[in-house]
């Protein structure tokens, strides 16, 4: 009996095994079929992405070592690090980096607290809240071009809506985008108006993902609303906060239409954003090699900032 059981058991198991798994040959054919299918399914996407992202980045880095004209890129001259050397001594290029970083800082510093405040305010259940959320979100879906066009006329020193509003509350006129001190703050205000609805939506999503029990438990423990906000809600929104910071920084660094339409980088280069500077160097001043070098520097700046912020995000996530 015992011997029988031992000799019989293995074949039984093997049978069960083959029943569960598909036969080996079929599996291998299946794997090959999957590989072929994956190739067909992915190839068009990967090919385009490789051309318009990876090849483009390579081309840009190569071009940054050349001096050439847009009309005839093939007849460029290798100039080594000249473009980069010129950049270090170019006050406009340096200022454009400073202005862009200042702009980003201004946007992040205003958008995070205001977006959060709006989200908390519009998280209550009352009549009209849904409509108000849509209204605050409206500028987000409006193109930067339309927003900047609108605000160019709002900021017009005479006949503009902004100064008319200031006079209405008995304040003196401002020069807005026509003064080198006021242009950048004016642009930050406009961008805040345009983008704050987006931060609000992200914070709202974050707030609504916090279980009600957390706040209730804190309330039972005797925490007042102020304490509940700082000790419970805000730490739980860490991830969203970093997200808002990342998104608004990247948006700010990409700013172009604002300068192109409203100020042409002025007055006195006070709104000469990086992308606008690249555009003018390449298309107005006809030096695409130099503009490529600035683009490479911009790419490096963007990568450093996003990696740092994403690392912060990951760190916070693990907490």
């Amino acid at each position: 009996m015992a011997v029988d059981a031992i000799t019989k058991a293995p074949p039984g198991r093997r049978v069960a095994g083959t029943m569960l798994r598909p036969p080996r040959r079929v599996r291998r054919v299946g794997a090959r079929r999957e590989l072929v299918a994956a190739g067909f399914f992915l190839l068009p996407f990967i090919a385009l992405l490789a051309l318009f992202q990876y090849f483009a980045i390579g081309l840009m880095i190569r071009n940054s070592f050349y001096t050439y004209s847009l009309l005839n890129p093939a007849e460029g001259k290798f100039s080594g690090l000249t473009n980069y050397r010129v950049m270090i001594h170019d006050p406009v290029a340096i200022q454009s980096i400073e202005v862009t970083l200042l702009f980003a800082l201004g946007i992040v510093a205003t958008q995070v607290p205001l977006g959060l405040a709006l989200a908390i305010f519009l998280n209550i259940r009352r009549r009209g809240v849904q409509l108000l959320r849509s209204v605050v979100f409206l500028p987000v879906v409006t193109s930067v071009v339309v927003v900047t066009t609108m605000w160019t006329f709002i900021y017009a020193p005479s006949d503009g809506l902004a100064n008319s509003l200031l006079h209405f509350v008995h304040l003196p006129s401002l020069l807005w985008a026509t003064s080198d001190h006021e242009a950048l703050p004016a642009m930050i205000l406009m961008t805040l108006w345009e983008e704050v609805g987006f931060s609000m939506m992200l914070f709202l999503a974050g707030l609504q993902s916090i279980p009600v029990e957390f706040e209730e438990a804190a309330a039972v423990d005797g925490a007042n609303p102020w304490q509940r906000f700082w000790r419970v809600t805000l730490p739980l929104l860490n991830r969203t906060t970093v997200l808002v910071v990342v998104v608004s920084t990247i948006f700010a660094i990409q700013a172009f239409a604002q300068a192109y339409i409203m100020t042409q980088g002025g007055p006195d280069y006070s709104t000469q954003f990086l992308v606008y500077n690249i555009y003018t160097e390449a298309f107005d001043l006809g030096d695409p090699g130099y503009a490529s070098a600035i683009s490479v520097v911009m790419l490096v700046i963007v990568l450093i900032i996003t990696t740092a912020q994403m690392r912060a995000l990951r760190g916070r996530l693990q907490e």
């Binding site: 318009f52 483009a56 847009l70 709006l118 409206l138 409006t142 160019t152 108006w193 239409a257």
Partner: protein, 301 residues
């Protein structure tokens, strides 16, 4: 006696408390409405001013803005002159048609490319999938604005510069689309496609008749977001298109604002209203897909 007294005192206290609570609630309501009105004004006033001014002659726009009054925000002396001149002299009509062609093509091609790619990344097992995945998503970190110069060179080489396909071709392989669809595909239970596989369906069949019908909301979100990005894009269309007959709407209205000397306010306002109208209508009707899409796009970081 003493028990009766305490209940009276207690009752008085409760009365005071209720009163206090009521007045506090009234104050909260007042504050709520005050903030609400303020926000409505702050976010709607610019739109209302532009829209109502777009129906006014230039002299009225100026005379109605100062001093600020209800006239500022109402279309006094309404006429469509600005709109007809926007269409006749400012290239707005051509821009609308070209933008519609570009945006619709971009939506269609983005989906056609991203659906099979997302299928392969979620449903097919092959060597190097992880590496490929990383290589695709790393491009998320590269803003399109950085690459305009090499893209212009590539577009010229491919003979698509100064053509409508040249506007959308560099962006139809969209990592954002792939990301969004991958999330949606992963939420569909694998049992569904395994059942179809046993019935003898191939991968194309599974993709089109098992997966796609189950990800309609994600497809709607993706279409709307792609349309919005494409419709609102500015820098690349400005560079890649030179002929006025192929100009897109955003470029058309931006160029009307720029020259600056003495811009004709009315037609520029009319152009801005026309440019934002399609997006606005879409937003009003399918808002939740938009907001979902924006929250998703935020999550990409």
């Amino acid at each position: 006696m003493s028990a009766g007294l305490t209940t009276i005192v207690g009752r008085q206290n409760i009365g005071v408390q209720v009163q206090r609570r009521r007045s506090r609630r009234a104050a909260a309501t007042a504050l709520y409405w005050l903030l609400t009105l303020l926000l409505f004004f702050a976010f709607l006033a610019p739109f209302v001013w532009i829209v109502s001014s777009s129906f006014k002659p230039q002299a009225y726009i100026f005379s109605d803005v100062e001093p600020l009054s209800w006239r500022t925000f109402l279309p006094t002396g309404a006429s469509l002159t600005n709109y007809s001149s926007a269409f006749s002299t400012e290239n707005v009509g051509t821009g609308l048609i070209n933008s519609a062609i570009v945006s619709c093509s971009q939506v269609a091609l983005t989906i056609v490319l991203a659906v099979p790619a997302a299928y392969a990344l979620t449903r097919l097992r092959f060597r190097g999938r992880g590496v490929l995945f990383t290589l695709i998503f790393i491009t998320f970190m590269v803003p399109a604005e950085v690459l305009i110069l090499p893209l212009f060179q590539i577009a010229s080489k491919l003979h698509v510069a100064n053509s409508l396909p040249g506007v959308f071709l560099p962006f139809i392989a969209s990592p954002f689309a792939l990301f969004l669809l991958r999330q949606a595909f992963r939420d569909i239970p694998r049992e569904l496609d395994e059942a179809a596989l046993i019935d003898g369906a191939g991968h194309v069949r599974i993709m089109t008749s098992v997966i796609l019908p189950n990800v309609k909301p994600a497809l709607a979100t993706l279409s709307l977001m792609t349309f919005l990005f494409s419709w609102n894009a500015f820098l690349w269309p400005l560079i890649v298109i030179q002929s006025p007959s192929r100009e897109l709407i955003q470029v058309a209205i931006a160029i009307n604002t720029v020259p600056g000397e003495l811009p004709n306010w009315g037609p520029v306002f009319a152009g801005a209203v026309i440019a934002v109208l399609p997006v606005l209508v879409l937003f009003l009707f399918v808002q939740r897909y938009f907001i979902r899409g924006f929250v998703m796009s935020g999550l990409k970081g």
